[in-house]
Amino acid sequence: MGQGNNRLSKTLNEMKDTFFDSFLAKNIVLVQAIGISPILAAGVTLKNGVVLTLCTAAVLIPASLFMSLFGDKLPAWVRPPIYTVGAAAIMLGAAIFIDRVISHELYASLYIFIPLTAVNSLVSYRAGGFSVSHEPVIALTDAVASSLGFGLVICVVSGLREIAAYGTLWENPLNFSVVLSEASLPYAAFLLLGFMAAFLQWLTSVIGQKLAKN
C-alpha cells in the first residue's frame, strides 16, 4: 500500500514538473525554439492562432501517446515516417472538418498551414523524442502542456499582430486610427518572439533567485 502511494505521488510529481516545464519554464517555443514556423507564417489573426493550437493538440496528443506505447518497439529510423504520415492523416480530417463544418474562408486562409502542422518540429521533437522514453501518462501530460505552451505563444503573437496589422481582434474592429499592415510580415513575429523569450528568461531568473533566497 505504502509502495503504491509512493509510486502514485512520484508519478504525480513527475506530471506536475513535466507540465510546468513544457508549458512555461522551458516553454516549447520561447525556450526550446520548437514550432516557430506556424507562428511566423500564419499567426496573423487570433482566429488562426486558436485553430492552429487545436490542430497542434489534435496531432501531438495521439502521436505522443502512440510513440510512448509503441515507439520503443520500432527501430528508430522507422518512427518518423509513421508518426508523420499518421499526423498528416489526422490533419486531412481536420482540413475537411474546417472546410465543411466551420468556415470555408478560414480553411482557404490556412490551406497551406493545416497540413504543415503534421511536420511541425513540435511533433518530431516531442512525440518522436520525449515520448518514446517516457510512460504514457507523462507523454500525455507533455503533449497537453506543449500544445498549451505553443497555444499561449501563438495566441499572444497572433492577437497582437491582428491588432497592429488590421485594427481588429477576433475580427471585431477596435477603431484604431493607426494600422501597421507590415505587422503581418514574419519579421514582426520574430521581433515579438524575441522580446517574449527575453521576458520569460528574465521572469524565470527572478523567480529562481527568490526561490533560492527562501
Binding site: L30, V31, A33, I34, G35, I36, S37, P38, I39, L40, A41, A76, W77, R79, P80, P81, T84, V85, A88, A89, M91, L92, A95, I96, D99, Y111, I112, I114, P115, L116, A118, V119, N120, S121, S124, G128, E182, L185, P186, Y187, A188, A189, F190, L191, L193, G194, F195, A197, A198, F199, Q201, W202, S205
Partner: protein, 196 residues
Amino acid sequence: MLRFFDYFLAAALLQNVVLMTGFGSSVLIKSSKKRTNILPFTTLLCIFTTLTVIICYPLDNLIGTGVLAKWLRPLMIIAITALLYIVAVLILYNKFPSLFNRIKRLVPVAAFNNLVIGIAIIINHQFAVNLPGAIGLALGTCAGFLMLSWLTTEGIERLDNPDVPKAFRGLPSVLLYLGILSLALMGFSGSVSILQ
C-alpha cells in the same frame, strides 16, 4: 530555362524563404547551433526538397484541381517525402554505413520539416510555374537556407557576449537578430513576395 534562374536567384538571394515565410525557422535555429552540421544538413534538405518537388509536380497535374484533390494533395506530398526518406535511409545504411552513422540524426529532421513540405505545397498550390522554375525555386530555397545558416551561426557566436543583457542572451537575441535580418531583406526586396 530562364524560369529556372529567375526562381533560383529570387529564392536564394532576394527572398529568402525562411525570412520571408518562416518555413524551416525552427530547424534553421537548431542546425545553426553547430557549424559542422550546416553543410551535411543543407545537402540532405536540398535532396529532399528537390526530389519531392520533382516527383509531386507531374502527380499534381494528374490528380487535378477538384475539392478532393485539394484535400488529398498535402497527404500525397507527405507520403512521397516519407517514401523518399525510407529510400534514402536504406541506400545510406546499405551502401554508406559509416556516413549513415555520422548523419543518421540529421536525416529525419531534414526530410520532415515545414520547408520541404511547404515548398512542395506552395509550388503546387500557388504557382503557375513550369518544372524548371519549380526546381529552381527548390534549389534556390536551399541555397538561401545555407547562407542564412552561416549568418545565423555567426550571429549566435557573436551574440554570446557579456555586453548583451542577461535576459536577451541565447535564443531571444537570435530571434531578434533574425527579425532584423528579415526586416532588412524586406527593405531590400520589397514586401511583395513571390512566396506569399
